[in-house]
């Protein structure tokens, strides 16, 4: 089992969710975050003073999936999240030791 962490542009959420469902992802959790990266934010002027908005709104998607899905999921996210413009985001894959569904107590891939 792997944990996929994907940082995406917020307006891509719905499209990605639909793409993931198609390839069998059964659940995920989304968190609103702010990202800092090459996409360097922008300079704003507020009441005559310049300031840099360094953090850009992003969504963080987290989902635990069976090893077999790592490639299709990465691919699906990469395809749908891509706009080709700076700030499209990242996909990270982390190892997971175990998973449990609280409602049933199921563990392992059953739990996903």
């Amino acid at each position: 089992m792997k944990l996929i962490i994907a940082i995406i542009k917020p307006f891509k959420l719905e499209e990605i969710r639909e793409a993931l469902i198609k390839i069998g992802v059964q659940g995920l959790v989304v968190t609103e975050s702010k990202g800092f990266g090459r996409q360097s934010g922008h300079t704003e002027i507020y009441r005559g003073a310049e300031y840099e908005v360094t953090f850009v709104p992003k969504l963080k998607l987290e989902m635990v999936i069976p090893d077999s899905l790592v490639d299709p999921v990465s691919e699906a996210i990469a395809t749908t999240a891509k706009t080709g413009r700076i700030g499209d985001g990242k996909i990270f894959v982390l190892p997971v030791d175990s998973a449990m569904r609280i409602r049933t107590g199921e563990t392992g891939e059953e739990a996903l």
């Binding site: 917020p10 307006f11 891509k12 959420l13 719905e14 989304v30 609103e32 709104p57 969504l59």
Partner: protein
């Protein structure tokens, strides 16, 4: 706020020009001008009291949790609409039975439906100027008082009551319960005959709302989790600036509430009276707010903004029973006692396990009782043996408070009980958890997923 039928008390002066000026024909105000002035007072007073509906809505929206804010907004706009319609169709006639329209003399007016129309087909008024003011303006003003009574109830019962049973209660409260009680005094019924004095309605409006809320709160029970494990678990409201806005709106509206209750502006003495009322009303709110602020600082080491807001409102409720007679300094005192009442009564209700979400019971019921008693020190009505003594007046005030409380509480309790048996008045635990907005309204108050980042 009394119809001319009540002549005892200082307010009785209002519609009759004071003799000192009547002689002075060159400066005297012509009858028609008096009519327009009085009407204008009702209209301005009326729209200011109408504005209090927004005040209640914002105060309550700020003091409930986000998940119940849409519901609270819905209830406030709905109850204001229902109050308007029920008071028009039924309540107005119950409140003012006049001479011949009592069902039970002095106690219950006839709930005949009357469709008000002020101008006949030729555009001539259907009422005469001799009345001293346009009856439409009076109607408009009285309607707003009725609506205010209903607004009081919604705050206490927030976050757990079902929408429709609440609205049915509102319909009966504004169509019958409030008009019956108010008719005892302002309709020339038993309280007015007994010499009770309640200028703008500390008892007749505010404590009626408070008693109805109390009955509901008892039957409804506290919010889940509020009194867990023998402890009080505060559930802070969603938005302090909205609660503050609501309080300022109510403060503003109160000038209409108390000032308009002079019922007349068309003479020098009425203009003086309305001015004094404005000044006293304002300073009583100041007294209430400051008392609560100083007291929470002393008791808790920090100022509690929600108590300050409640304190200002309690000051306003306290002065409402007699905003004309006190001096400015007396007004500060009367308001300050209201503020003190709030600070002690809020935790007291918690100890009694009565869950009053916005503090409406301390503010409207308890400060209302205090204000009604305080009247006696400044104003004594005339009885058979002349002006009453202060202690006699206090007895009468207590009699009025008791009578109104008994009737309102029993009637409200019975009605809530009926609604409970018929439909249930409380939402399910699940619905309470997810919030009434999702459960009953279908649009959350702040529905976006994260600020500014929602994709849909």
């Amino acid at each position: 706020m009394i119809k001319p039928i009540l002549v005892s008390g200082i307010a009785g002066l209002s519609l009759f020009a004071s003799p000192a000026f009547a002689q002075d024909t060159s400066s005297a105000i012509p009858g028609d001008s008096v009519f327009v002035f009085n009407t204008l007072l009702f209209l301005i007073g009326g729209f200011l009291v109408m504005w209090m509906a927004a005040g209640f809505a914002m105060l309550e929206a700020g003091l409930v949790r986000s998940k119940n804010v849409s519901m609270q907004c819905t209830k406030n706009i709905a109850l204001f609409s229902i109050a308007g319609i029920m008071f028009t169709l039924v309540g107005y006639n119950v409140l003012y039975p006049g001479d011949g329209n009592w069902m039970i003399e002095g106690w219950v007016g006839n709930p005949s439906v009357k469709d008000i129309k002020l101008l006949d087909a030729d555009g001539n008024p259907t009422v005469t100027a001799g009345d001293g003011y346009s009856s439409g303006s009076d109607f408009f003003f009285q309607l707003m008082f009725c609506a205010a009574t209903a607004s009081i109830v919604s705050g206490t019962l927030a976050e757990r009551i079902k929408l429709w049973p609440f609205l049915i209660f509102t319909a009966v409260l504004t169509g019958l319960i409030y008009p019956i009680v108010a008719s005892w005094q302002w309709g020339g019924g038993v309280l007015s005959a007994a010499g009770f004095s309640d200028f703008a309605g500390s008892t007749l409006v505010h404590s009626v709302g408070g008693w109805a809320a109390l009955a509901g709160a008892i039957l409804l029970g506290a919010r889940t989790g509020k009194f867990r494990d023998g402890q009080v678990h505060p559930m802070p409201g969603s938005s302090m600036p909205l609660a503050t806005l609501g309080t300022f709106i109510l403060w503003l509206g109160w000038f209409g509430f108390n000032g308009g209750s002079q019922l007349a502006l068309g003479s020098v003495s009425d203009a003086d009276a309305v001015s004094q009322i404005f000044a006293n009303t304002n300073i009583a709110a100041s007294g209430g707010a400051l008392a609560a602020m100083i007291l929470t600082q002393i008791l808790y080491g920090k100022v509690d903004l929600t108590m300050v807001l409640n304190g200002a409102l309690a000051g306003l409720v306290s002065i409402t029973a007699e905003p004309l007679a006190p001096t400015m300094i007396e007004s500060i005192m009367i308001g300050a006692v209201g503020g003190v009442i709030v600070v002690f009564a809020v935790p007291m209700l918690d100890r009694m396990r009565i869950d009053d979400v916005v503090g409406a019971i301390p503010v409207h019921l308890l400060a209302g009782i205090w204000g009604t008693i305080a009247v006696a020190f400044n104003t004594q009505t005339e009885g058979a043996d002349g002006i009453r003594s202060v202690s006699e007046q206090i007895s009468i005030q207590l009699y009025g408070i008791g009578l109104v409380g008994l009737f309102t509480f029993v009637a409200s309790f019975a009605l809530w009980m009926l609604l409970k048996l018929l439909f249930g008045i409380r939402v399910s635990d699940e619905d309470e958890y997810i919030g009434l907005d999702a459960a009953e309204i279908g649009i959350e108050a702040y529905p976006e997923f994260g600020k500014g980042s929602q994709s849909l």
